[in-house]
C-alpha cells in the first residue's frame, strides 16, 4: 500500500528526512516507487524563486526535444540541476533527471502572474504530449519554486540513487510518497504527489469514484486536466478546481470531496450555499478510503480523510516544523521532540490545516467550524 510523508517547516530541510520517515513506515508500503515534490526551494534554487522550474526525466534525444520546444516558446535557460546518480541494484536508470530553471519569454515580462501561470501550464502540457508521442520526455511540473522528482523503486534506495543524502537540495515544504500506483500500469506519471499550478496533493488509498470524477474534471474545459494515469491524480485537480477556478476557501475542499448529508448541511451557517455546492459538485465526491495531503500556492498544507473508511494519517510537530504522516512512527522520525499528546488524528469531518512556515495547526470541522489550534 502507500505511505505518505509530508513535512512543512520554517527552515530549509533535506528530502532525506521524508525518505527516512517513509523508511520507518516501510511495513505499510511495498517500495515500488517514490515521488517527491519540493516547494519553497533552498540550496542553489534559493535565489531563483521567481523563475519557473521544469522538472522531469528524459532520454538523451529528449533533451534536444526540450531545448527545441523551450527555445521556440521563448524560454531562456537560467540554471540547470541534475541529481548525481549513484547506481543502485534494481533501479533502472533513465538518461537524464533534471530540474531546469527558465526565464520567461520576453513578451511575458510585464504580464500578470496569472498569465504566466497559464503559459507554464500550456508549455508543460505541450511538452508532455510531445514526450509521450516520442517516448522521450516526462515532465512533472513547471512552476516557480517547485521541484519534482519521481522514479520507480524503493524510497531509501532512490534517495541513495539520487544522492540526496549528499545533495544540498533543500526546501521548506516536501511531500513524499512511497509506492507506485499499481492499480493501473506502472507509469511515472502515475506516481504521487501530483501537481498543477501551485497546488499539490498525494493520497493514500484507492479511489472508487475515479471514473465519474475524471470525466467531470475533463469536461471542465480547463487545460491541465489530463493524464489520470493514477486514480489519485484527480485529488490534486479537485483542489485546483475548487480553490483556483471556483475561488472557494480551502475548507470547502473537504465539503466537496466528502459532502455532508442534507440534514447536516442544515445545521451550517452557510447552508444555502453549501446545499447548492453539494449538488453542483456531486461528481467530485470521493468514496474513500482516502487520506489526502496537499498544499496550496501560499504554502498552506493540509490533511483530510474520507468520510467513513479512513486511511492512516496523523499530524504533529512543534511550531516551525510540522509533519503530516501516514503513521506515528513516521512522525517520530520527522519530529521526534514534540508533545505527542497534541498529535492530531483527523476524523471524518476534520481537515487539519497548517499555516505557511509551519506557524500553527488548525482543525476545521465540517459541522463545527474551527475546533482546535496548535502553535
Amino acid at each position: 500500500m502507500c505511505r505518505l510523508a509530508a513535512i512543512t517547516s520554517e527552515k530549509y530541510f533535506s528530502p532525506m528526512e521524508n525518505i527516512t520517515a517513509l523508511e520507518t513506515m516501510k511495513e505499510g508500503h511495498d517500495g515500488s516507487g517514490m515521488g517527491l515534490i519540493l516547494k519553497n526551494l533552498g540550496g542553489e534554487f534559493k535565489d531563483l524563486k521567481e523563475y519557473p522550474v521544469l522538472s522531469g526525466i528524459s532520454s538523451n534525444t529528449g533533451i534536444d526535444t526540450i531545448n527545441d520546444h523551450m527555445d521556440s516558446a521563448g524560454f531562456k535557460l537560467k540554471h540547470s540541476w541534475s541529481p548525481k546518480i549513484r547506481p543502485v541494484k534494481g533501479i533502472e536508470r533513465h538518461d537524464n533527471y533534471f530540474a531546469r530553471v527558465y526565464d520567461y519569454p520576453d513578451k511575458y515580462k510585464g504580464r500578470s502572474f496569472e498569465e504566466k501561470e497559464q503559459l507554464l501550464l500550456k508549455t508543460r502540457v505541450e511538452l508532455r504530449k510531445t514526450g509521450e508521442r516520442e517516448g522521450s520526455v516526462t515532465v512533472f511540473s513547471f512552476y516557480p519554486d517547485v521541484l519534482t522528482l519521481k522514479e520507480v523503486g524503493d524510497p531509501l534506495q532512490l534517495g541513495e540513487f539520487f544522492s540526496l543524502d549528499k545533495s544540498d537540495l533543500k526546501a521548506k515544504i516536501i511531500f513524499a510518497q512511497g509506492r507506485q500506483n499499481t492499480n493501473y500500469a506502472i507509469n511515472l506519471y502515475a506516481c504521487h504527489p501530483f501537481f498543477i499550478q501551485g497546488y499539490g496533493a498525494m493520497v493514500n488509498g484507492e479511489n472508487t469514484a475515479f471514473i465519474p470524477i475524471k470525466e467531470y474534471l475533463m469536461g471542465r474545459g480547463l487545460p491541465g486536466y489530463i493524464g489520470y494515469n493514477s486514480d489519485s491524480e484527480v485529488f490534486a485537480h479537485i483542489l485546483h478546481y475548487s480553490c483556483r477556478h471556483l475561488k472557494y476557501p480551502l475548507t470547502y475542499y473537504k465539503d466537496i470531496i466528502t459532502p455532508l448529508k442534507a440534514s447536516e448541511i442544515e445545521t451550517r451557517k452557510d447552508s444555502q450555499a453549501a446545499r447548492l455546492l453539494k449538488m453542483s459538485l456531486r461528481p467530485l465526491c470521493i468514496d474513500g478510503p482516502n487520506c489526502v495531503m496537499g498544499f496550496t500556492p501560499d504554502g498552506t498544507t493540509f490533511m483530510a480523510q474520507d468520510a467513513k473508511k479512513l486511511r492512516p494519517g496523523v499530524v504533529g510537530g512543534v511550531k516551525g516544523k510540522f509533519a503530516l504522516m501516514s503513521e506515528e512512527c513516521g512522525l517520530d522520525s520527522a519530529v521526534a521532540k514534540r508533545d505527542k499528546s497534541k498529535d492530531i488524528f483527523p476524523m471524518k469531518y476534520d481537515m487539519v490545516i497548517i499555516e505557511p512556515e509551519a506557524r500553527e495547526v488548525k482543525v476545521w470541522n465540517q459541522l463545527q467550524g474551527w475546533t482546535a489550534t496548535t502553535s
Binding site: 472508487t208 475515479f210 467531470y216
Partner: protein
C-alpha cells in the same frame, strides 16, 4: 360438388395452433365449474360429449358396449377466445385438474387478425431473451486495495436529484468573511431540485390501472416516505389524479403527467390554487418505449364513472391520446414552450421534464434540453417498457433498447461536461427477469440518475400474470384477472389495495438492501455511483464495446 371443408372442419384451427393448450384431467376434475367461470377469455367451456364404453366383466371376454353422456371441460378453438395462459383456471381449481401449457409451435400471429384488425394487446415485448441489462456484471470489487464497505454497518445515501443542477461556476454564491453565501441579488434562476430515491414508479394512469391498484401504489409510496423515510416518488400517468390527493399534503410524492390527450388536466389546473404542497415534478409525455411514435388509448369499456370524472370526459367512449401533442409542431414548441408553461403554472418551483421513447433521435431531444435552462431532466423509456394497450407490432418491433440509448446520451453529456446538469431517468425493462436492483444499479453506472419501473411493481406488488411468452397480456381488454388493469368492479374488487401497498413497501425495502449489497463491495456509499462505468463488465464483447465498458469472460 360441395367442398369438403365444412365436413372435415378444414379452415378451423387446431389446438396446436394456439399459444396455450389446456391440459385438463378427466379423472381429477370434480366438475365444479370454477375454471370455466373464472376464465377471462372464455377459452374453456363446459361441454357434454357422448362416450362409447366397452366393458367385459365375466371370465370370458364378453364385451358389451354402452354409450354415456359425460360433461367435460373443453378448450375453444376460436381465435377470439384464445387461451392467454393466465392460469386462473389452475388457481381456482380445487383438485389440480387443469393447467394451460405453453405451445412453442403455435401460429397465433398468423391468425390473430380476423376482421382485418391487427392484434392489439397490453403487456410487454414478447421477447423472452435476457436483456442487455442482465448481461452486465459488477466486476470492480474492492477487497484489499480498498476495504469493502459493510452493507449492514456503514451509512449509505442512496438518493438522487431530480431537477436541473447549475454548474458550479454559475452558482449565485459569493464569499463573505471566509464563508460562501447565497447571493440573493444576483438574479440567477436557481432551478428547483428534489432529492428522491433513485428508483421511481413510472407513469401508469388511473384508467390503465384499476382504482384499487393505483390506490395501493399511492398508499405504498406515501408509507415509504412518511414512515420509512424513503423518498420514493411515483408518476401519475396520463389521466389526472384524484382531487382529494391533489389537495393533500401527499401531493409532494407524486409526479402528475401531462400527455397529448391532456386528460385530467382540467381538474389539475383548477385545483392548483387549492394545493397545499407542490407536486414532486411534472412529467410531459412525448413517447413511450413500448410503442414509440404511437399514441395512447383507453378503450371505451374501461371508461367508467370514476375515470370519466377524473378525466373530465363522458363515460363509455374511446379515449385516444394522439401520437404527438397536436398543438405543437416543432421540437422547440413541443418541448420548450410546454416546459415553460408547466413551470410557470407552479411559479417555477416544480421541476418539469419530458419523457420520450428511446430512439436514435433521443440525442437530438437531449441536446435541445441541455440548452433549455428550465428543463429538469430527461426520462428515456426503452423498448422493454410495458403498456396498457398497443398494437402487437408496435410492441414487438418498434423501439430501441434502453442500455445503449442511455449510455450514448450520458456520454454525450460527458463530452459537453454537462453530465451533472441534466439528470437522465432510464426505464423500459428494468427488472424484466426480476433482477431489479442489479438492473437499476447497472443503468446508474451507465449514467442514469434514476430509473423508473412499471411492470416489475405490477408483478411484485399485485401478482400480474403477464410475461414475455404472451401470457395474459390482456390489459387492453379490461379483463385483467388480477384486477390490476381493469375498471370492472367485479374484477378489481379481487385486488386488496392494502396488500398492494404492503408489497410496494416490501419491494422498496428489499431493493434498498440489495442496492447496498451491490454498492458496498464496490466501495460506493456516499453518492450514487452515476457513470461509474469501470465497475461494469459485459459478457459479450460487442455489448462491451457499444457501451464503452470492459468485457469479462
Amino acid at each position: 360438388m360441395e367442398p369438403a371443408a365444412r365436413l372435415d372442419r378444414n379452415h378451423q384451427l387446431t389446438l396446436k395452433d394456439f399459444p396455450y393448450v389446456i391440459n385438463w384431467s378427466d379423472e381429477r376434475c370434480t366438475r365444479c365449474g370454477k375454471c370455466t367461470a373464472v376464465c377471462p377469455m372464455f377459452s374453456i367451456e363446459p361441454a357434454v360429449v357422448v362416450r362409447r364404453r366397452v366393458r367385459s366383466e365375466g371370465v370370458n371376454p364378453e364385451p358389451t358396449t354402452t354409450r354415456q353422456v359425460v360433461s367435460v371441460v373443453k378448450q375453444v378453438n376460436d381465435i377470439g377466445k384464445y387461451c392467454t395462459g393466465c392460469a386462473m383456471c389452475s388457481l381456482v381449481c380445487p383438485n389440480d385438474a387443469i393447467m394451460p401449457e405453453y405451445n412453442p409451435q403455435h401460429k397465433f400471429l398468423f391468425h390473430k387478425n380476423r376482421g382485418g384488425q391487427p392484434y392489439r394487446r397490453g403487456g410487454r415485448r414478447n421477447d423472452p431473451q435476457i436483456s442487455t441489462l442482465d448481461r452486465l456484471k459488477f466486476t470492480r470489487i474492492s477487497m484489499l486495495t480498498d476495504p469493502a464497505l459493510d452493507a449492514g454497518r456503514h451509512e449509505f445515501r442512496i438518493r438522487t436529484y431530480l431537477g436541473r443542477i447549475l454548474p458550479a461556476d454559475e452558482l449565485p454564491i459569493k464569499l463573505v468573511r471566509g464563508s460562501l453565501e447565497l447571493d440573493k441579488k444576483s438574479g440567477t434562476f436557481i432551478p428547483p431540485v428534489r432529492e428522491i430515491y433513485p428508483i421511481m414508479i413510472g407513469s401508469m394512469s388511473i384508467g390503465a390501472l384499476s382504482p384499487n391498484m393505483w390506490e395501493g401504489l399511492a398508499m405504498g409510496i406515501t408509507y415509504l416516505n412518511e414512515v420509512e423515510g424513503m423518498p420514493v416518488v411515483m408518476c401519475s400517468g396520463e389521466g389526472g389524479m384524484p382531487s382529494s390527493l391533489l389537495r393533500s399534503r401527499f401531493l409532494k410524492y407524486f409526479i402528475p403527467q401531462i400527455a397529448s390527450g391532456y386528460f385530467g388536466w382540467d381538474e389539475i389546473v383548477r385545483t392548483i390554487p387549492h394545493m397545499i404542497e407542490d407536486p414532486c415534478a411534472i412529467e410531459i409525455k412525448y413517447g413511450q418505449g413500448a410503442k414509440p411514435g404511437d399514441g395512447g388509448l383507453l378503450m371505451a369499456h374501461k371508461v367508467l364513472k370514476l375515470i370519466s370524472e377524473i378525466r373530465g370526459v363522458p363515460m363509455g367512449v374511446d379515449l385516444p391520446s394522439p401520437p404527438t401533442h397536436q398543438t405543437k409542431y416543432s421540437i422547440e414548441e413541443a418541448v420548450a414552450k410546454m416546459i415553460q408553461s408547466m413551470s410557470m403554472a407552479w411559479g417555477f418551483r416544480v421541476p418539469v421534464y419530458p419523457k420520450i421513447s428511446a430512439t436514435k433521435t433521443t440525442k437530438a431531444v437531449l441536446n435541445n434540453l441541455v440548452r433549455n435552462p428550465y428543463a429538469a431532466g430527461l426520462s428515456i423509456d426503452g423498448e422493454d417498457g410495458g403498456t396498457g394497450a398497443a398494437y402487437d407490432v408496435s410492441m414487438n418491433s418498434m423501439g430501441h433498447p434502453i442500455a445503449s440509448n442511455l449510455r450514448e446520451c450520458y456520454l454525450d453529456l460527458v463530452m459537453q461536461g454537462k453530465q451533472n446538469e441534466l439528470p437522465l431517468i432510464a426505464s423500459g425493462g428494468v427488472g424484466k427477469k426480476g433482477n431489479l436492483a442489479a438492473n437499476a444499479a447497472s443503468l446508474i453506472m451507465l449514467g442514469a440518475s434514476a430509473v423508473s419501473i412499471g411492470k416489475y411493481i405490477m408483478q411484485a406488488a399485485a401478482e400480474c400474470l403477464g410475461d414475455e411468452y404472451n401470457r395474459c397480456n390482456v390489459c387492453n381488454l379490461g379483463k385483467c384477472p388480477r384486477g390490476i388493469t381493469t375498471q370492472d368492479p367485479k374484477l378489481y374488487r379481487r385486488l386488496d389495495p392494502d396488500k398492494v401497498a404492503e408489497r410496494v413497501v416490501e419491494v422498496f425495502k428489499s431493493v434498498d438492501v440489495e442496492l447496498k449489497k451491490i454498492f458496498a463491495p464496490m466501495g460506493r456509499s456516499t453518492e450514487l455511483p452515476i457513470g461509474m462505468s469501470d465497475g461494469l463488465s459485459a459478457d459479450d464483447p460487442a455489448i462491451a464495446e457499444r457501451l464503452k465498458i470492459s468485457y469479462a469472460c
